[in-house]
C-alpha cells in the first residue's frame, strides 16, 4: 500500500515487474487477528486525503510493516544547540544554518538523492575548509530519484478517533486521541504536550513518533508545522546495548575496590573479606578449614584472653585545624569539647538536624587548635561533606579547616590483656603506665625514626592501643606488631569478631544498631548529650514531643532462655503471639554467641524497652518461638576493669 497516487521510482517499477500489486492512494484502516495479526483492511484515500472512499479491501497477512519515509537525522545539530527549519516541500525538519564549527551535509540536511548530496557536500566542504578546487567538483551520478511525495500525519478512518486507537508512540502507547486531548486541555507548548502524553519519551526518544505528533499538533492547532517548536532530539538515537553503557566495568571492574595498605598481608594470611562501603575489610581469618563461626569464636577468645590485632585503617579520619576548632566540635557533637586537654581523646556522637544519630567516633586533641576526628568507615565521605557544608553555609564565621587524612594513616589496633606488653616491645621508650598514658589519651612517638601516634582507646572493652602511622609504613608496622605479639599468641581478627567484642560491651555500631530513627536517648546514651551547651546539630529536635515519647523504640540487651540459641539479626520481637494482629515491639539489631560469656547475646530495639528490663519477650521464627529476657545492653565487664587490666 502506498498513500501516494503513483510512483515511477525504480523500486516501484521492479515491484510491478515482479507482479507485486501496489495499492496506490490507499491506507490501512483496520487490522484483524487474535494475539497476532492475520489480515488488514484497506481503503482508498480521497483526493484531499481527509477521508477514505470506496469499498473496504481485506488482505490476509502475517506481518504489517510501516514506513514513515525519510526524516533527516538532525540530532547532532540540535544537541549542539542548533535550531530547525521546516522544509515544506519535503515535509521534514532540516538544520537551520548556524555560525558554528559544524556543517550538516547529506540526508541529515534534507538531501536524499545522491547527486544533490555530492554537489552540496563538495560546496559546503569547500567553504568550510576554505578550499577552492577539489577532485569531486562537478561529479555526475545517475540514480533513481523519488519525486512523488505525499504526507498525511493522521490517516483518515471511518471509525471515530475515540473508538479506535491510533498509536503515535509505539513504546509509550500514546495515541492521536491523547495528543488532541492535550491540546483541548490547553497545552500548547510542544514540551508540555510531550510530557503530558509521554509521546517521544521512551527509549527511542521519539524516533518513531515525534514527526507524527508534531504534525497532528500543527493540524489540530491550525498552525504551520514547526511554528510551535520542536522538542530537542536526543540520544540514544540508535539503541545501545547494555554492554556499551557498562563499558569495561565488568568482572573485577564491576565495583570500585578500596584496599588498606595492609591488604596484601591479609590476603597472604587467608583472610575472608567483607565489603564495607567500597573497602575490602578482613572479615575473619579461618584456620585449617574453620567455619566463620569457629574462626570468630577463636579470634574473640584470643582477644579477651591474650591479644588480638585489627586493621582499623578504614575508619574515616579528618584533620581539623583553626582557632574555632573546639567551638566547631561543640556544635557538631552532642557533648562538650572545650575542656578536652591536649593529648586526650573523647568519644562523640553526631546527630542529624532531626536529632537522630548520624555518626560516631573518637576525636583527639593534638594541639590547642588541632584535632583529629575519626568517623565510621562507611560514613567518612558523607561526614566530611556535611561538616564542610556547615562551615561554608551555616557557620562561615568559624575559623576552621578540614582535611581528609583517611588514606594518609594506617591503623593497627592491638587489644587484650597482653597488649601493653606487645606495645612495650615495639616502643620500649614509651612510658605506658596508667599515670603517664591513661585510657583515652595519645602519645606521639617514633619507630625506627618514623613518626607514630599511639592512642589508648578501645572499641572492645579491653586494654587497647591504636597505632597510627603513614600508610606507606602500614604493612611493615603491622608485621612488627605480629612479630612482637608472637609470644603472646597475638591473633589477627576481622570485622565479625570486632562486632562481637563490642556487642559484649554494648557499644553501638551506627548503621547496624541505628537506622536513622534513633536518638541518643533511644540508645540509652543520654549521658553523652550535654545539658549545658547552648546548641549543637539536632539539639532542638531532641525536645520535640515525638522524640521525648516514652514509648519510642529503645536499645536493650536480649538474653535467650536457651543460652545456646542465637537469634537472627532482623528478627521481630513480640510479647504475645495469641492476640491478632500480633503487636510488633521491635527487632534484633545485633546477635552473636559470645565465647567469653559462653552464651548467646543480642542487642535489639524494643518499644518502651528502657522500662522492660527483666521482662520476657518472644521472637517468633518460622518453626518455633524463641523466648528471651530483656537485659542491660552491657553484657561484659560493667565496671570497665578490663580497660586497665
Amino acid at each position: 500500500m502506498d498513500l501516494r497516487k503513483n510512483s515511477q521510482s525504480e523500486i516501484a517499477k521492479q515491484a510491478r515487474n515482479l507482479g507485486i500489486k501496489i495499492y496506490f492512494n490507499h491506507v490501512v484502516t483496520n487490522t484483524f487477528g487474535y494475539r497476532r495479526i492475520n489480515s488488514v483492511e484497506l481503503m482508498e484515500l480521497s483526493d484531499d486525503g481527509n477521508t477514505t472512499i470506496g469499498n473496504k479491501i481485506k488482505l490476509n497477512c502475517d506481518c504489517l510493516g510501516i514506513s514513515g519515509g525519510w526524516t533527516p537525522m538532525v540530532h547532532m545539530h540540535t544537541q549542539s544547540g542548533g535550531k530547525l527549519d521546516f522544509k515544506n516541500d519535503d515535509q521534514v525538519f532540516i538544520p537551520k544554518e548556524i555560525d558554528n564549527d559544524q556543517i550538516s551535509i547529506g540526508a541529515c540536511n534534507g538531501d536524499f538523492d545522491l547527486e544533490t548530496i555530492i554537489d552540496k557536500t563538495v560546496n559546503k566542504i569547500n567553504i568550510f575548509l576554505e578550499i577552492n578546487n577539489q577532485d569531486y567538483k562537478n561529479t555526475k551520478v545517475e540514480c533513481s530519484i523519488e519525486k512523488e511525495k505525499r504526507n498525511i500525519w493522521l490517516l483518515p478512518n471511518k471509525i471515530p478517533l475515540g473508538k479506535t486507537k491510533c498509536f503515535i508512540d509505539f513504546q509509550n502507547d500514546s495515541t492521536a486521541k491523547d495528543i488532541k486531548l492535550a491540546l483541548k486541555e490547553g497545552f500548547r507548548s510542544i514540551e508540555h504536550v510531550k510530557r503530558y502524553t509521554t509521546t517521544g519519551m521512551a527509549t527511542d526518544q521519539g524516533k518513531l513518533s515525534n514527526m507524527h505528533a508534531l504534525g497532528i499538533i500543527a493540524d489540530t492547532a491550525g498552525v504551520k508545522m514547526g511554528t510551535l517548536g520542536t522538542t530537542t532530539f536526543r540520544p540514544p538515537f540508535t539503541p545501545l546495548t547494555f554492554g556499551t553503557i557498562v563499558g569495561r566495568n565488568v568482572g573485577k571492574f564491576f565495583e570500585v575496590v578500596r584496599k588498606t595498605s595492609i591488604h596484601d598481608w591479609h590476603v597472604d594470611n587467608k583472610a575472608q573479606f567483607e565489603n564495607v562501603g567500597q573497602w575490602k575489610r578482613p572479615w575473619y581469618y579461618p584456620k585449617n578449614g574453620e567455619t566463620m563461626h569457629d574462626a570468630v569464636q577463636r579470634e574473640s577468645k584470643a582477644a579477651r584472653d591474650s591479644a588480638g590485632i585489627l586493621d582499623a585503617s578504614t575508619l574515616g579520619k579528618i584533620d581539623i585545624q583553626g582557632t574555632d576548632a573546639s567551638e566547631f566540635l561543640n556544635r557538631v557533637y552532642t557533648n562538650a569539647w572545650s575542656k578536652l586537654s591536649i593529648g586526650k581523646c573523647r568519644y562523640g556522637l553526631m546527630l542529624n538536624e532531626d536529632g537522630m544519630v548520624y555518626d560516631d567516633g573518637v576525636t583527639t586533641r593534638l594541639a590547642e587548635n588541632h584535632y583529629l576526628m575519626t568517623t565510621t568507615t562507611g560514613g567518612a565521605a558523607n561526614v566530611l561533606g556535611k561538616l564542610e557544608d556547615y562551615l561554608q553555609t551555616e557557620w562561615p564565621e568559624l575559623d576552621v579547616y578540614l582535611t581528609s587524612v583517611t588514606d594518609h594513616y594506617s591503623t593497627a589496633s592491638v587489644c587484650g590483656p597482653n597488649s601493653k606488653k606487645i606495645i612495650n616491645k615495639i616502643f620500649p621508650e614509651l612510658d605506658l603506665s596508667d599515670e603517664n598514658f591513661p585510657h583515652m589519651s595519645f602519645k606521639n612517638t617514633k619507630l625506627d625514626n618514623i613518626n607514630c601516634r599511639v592512642m589508648r582507646i578501645s572499641f572492645t572493652g579491653e586494654l587497647s592501643y591504636e597505632i597510627n602511622i603513614e600508610s606507606k609504613y602500614g604493612k611493615s608496622l603491622w608485621e612488627k606488631c605480629i612479630s612482637a605479639g608472637q609470644e603472646f599468641n597475638i591473633t589477627p581478627y576481622g570485622t565479625e569478631t570486632m562486632h562481637l567484642l563490642r556487642a559484649e560491651k554494648g557499644f553501638i555500631i551506627v548503621g547496624q544498631d541505628t537506622d536513622g530513627t534513633m536518638t541518643p536517648s533511644d540508645l540509652q546514651m543520654d549521658w553523652i548529650v550535654s545539658k549545658k551547651k547552648y546548641d549543637f546539630i539536632g539539639k532542638r529536635s531532641l525536645y520535640r514531643s515525638d522524640t521525648i515519647r516514652e514509648d519510642r523504640k529503645q536499645l536493650v540487651g536480649l538474653l535467650t532462655n536457651d543460652p545456646k540459641e542465637i537469634l537472627e539479626e532482623g528478627a521481630q520481637i513480640v510479647s504475645d503471639t495469641n492476640t491478632k494482629p500480633i503487636d510488633m515491639l521491635g527487632h534484633v539489631t545485633s546477635s552473636y554467641f559470645s565465647p567469653n560469656l559462653n552464651k548467646s547475646i543480642a542487642l535489639a530495639v524494643v518499644r518502651s524497652g528502657k522500662n522492660m528490663k527483666g521482662q520476657k519477650l518472644i521472637i517468633p521464627m518460622e518453626n518455633k518461638n524463641i523466648n528471651v529476657t530483656v537485659s542491660d545492653t552491657i553484657f561484659l565487664d560493667k565496671e570497665n576493669k578490663r580497660l586497665n587490666a
Binding site: G247, R248, N249, K252, F253, V256, V257, R258, K259, T260, S261, D264, Q278, W279, D319, Q321, G322, T323, A367, N369, H370, D399, Y401, T403, S404, V405, T406, D407, H408, Y409, L447, D448, I450, N451, I469, E470, S471, K472, Y473, G474, K475, S476, L477, K480
Partner: protein
C-alpha cells in the same frame, strides 16, 4: 627497620599510553585565607599560590594546585619531606594563619604520558578535556571510573594524576585495561 610499601602499580606502556608510579612524592594540603597565610607560604616555598580556579603554579621545587578558594595541594620531590612540612606547620598552623596537613600518603601520584591519555580518561570520565589538554598547568578535580582524582596537566600529553591511596590499585588496573581498547 620499617619498610615502605606502595600500591602495586606496575609501570606500563600500551597503545601510546605510558603509566608510571611517581612515588615517593611529598604532598601537603594548605588551607587559609589571610594575607599572613599567603605571605608565609610565599616565604617558605618561594611560590605564589594560584588564585584562579583549576590552575596551578610552580617553582623550581614545588607545584601548587588550586583545590578550592582556600585550599591548595603542594607537591614536590624531596629527600627530607618533613623539613618543609614542619616549617610550614610552625609558620602557619601553630600561629593560626591557616592549616597545614601532611597528605603525602593520602594521595598516590601516577604519571600518564602519550597521545592517547585523554582517550583513556574519557572512557571513564565525563570531564571535557578540550581546554585542559591545550593549556599547560591546568588542574581539575574530577571522577575517573567512579573514583575521585586530581589531574594536573604538566605539559602536552603529560599529566600527573592524584588518586587516594586506597583506590589507586583499582584505578590503575582499570587504566591498563582501558588502554587495551583504544
Amino acid at each position: 627497620m620499617l619498610n615502605t610499601h606502595y600500591p602495586q602499580i606496575t609501570d606500563n606502556k600500551l597503545n601510546d599510553v605510558e603509566i608510571s608510579l611517581q612515588e615517593p612524592i611529598s604532598k601537603i594540603n594548605l588551607r587559609g585565607k589571610s594575607k599572613e597565610f599567603f605571605a608565609k607560604v610565599g616565604k617558605v616555598l618561594s611560590l605564589i599560590l594560584p588564585n584562579e580556579a583549576n590552575t596551578s603554579s610552580f617553582s623550581e621545587n614545588f607545584n601548587a594546585i588550586w583545590l578550592s578558594p582556600d585550599e591548595w595541594m603542594v607537591y614536590f620531590k624531596n629527600d627530607d619531606e618533613k623539613v618543609i612540612f614542619n616549617k610550614l606547620y610552625s609558620e602557619i598552623s601553630k600561629v593560626n594563619y591557616g592549616s597545614v596537613t601532611d597528605i603525602s600518603d593520602q594521595w598516590i601520584c601516577i604519571n600518564l604520558k602519550g597521545s592517547k591519555i585523554y582517550d583513556i580518561l574519557s572512557a571513564g570520565c565525563s570531564f571535557n578535556f578540550d581546554q585542559f589538554l591545550k593549556t599547560d598547568g591546568l588542574s581539575t578535580q574530577t571522577i575517573v571510573n567512579h573514583i575521585d582524582v586530581i589531574l594536573h596537566n604538566k605539559n602536552t600529553y603529560n599529566i600527573n594524576l592524584f588518586v587516594r591511596r586506597s583506590f589507586s590499585e583499582h584505578l590503575c588496573l582499570w587504566l591498563n585495561d582501558s588502554a587495551k581498547f583504544i
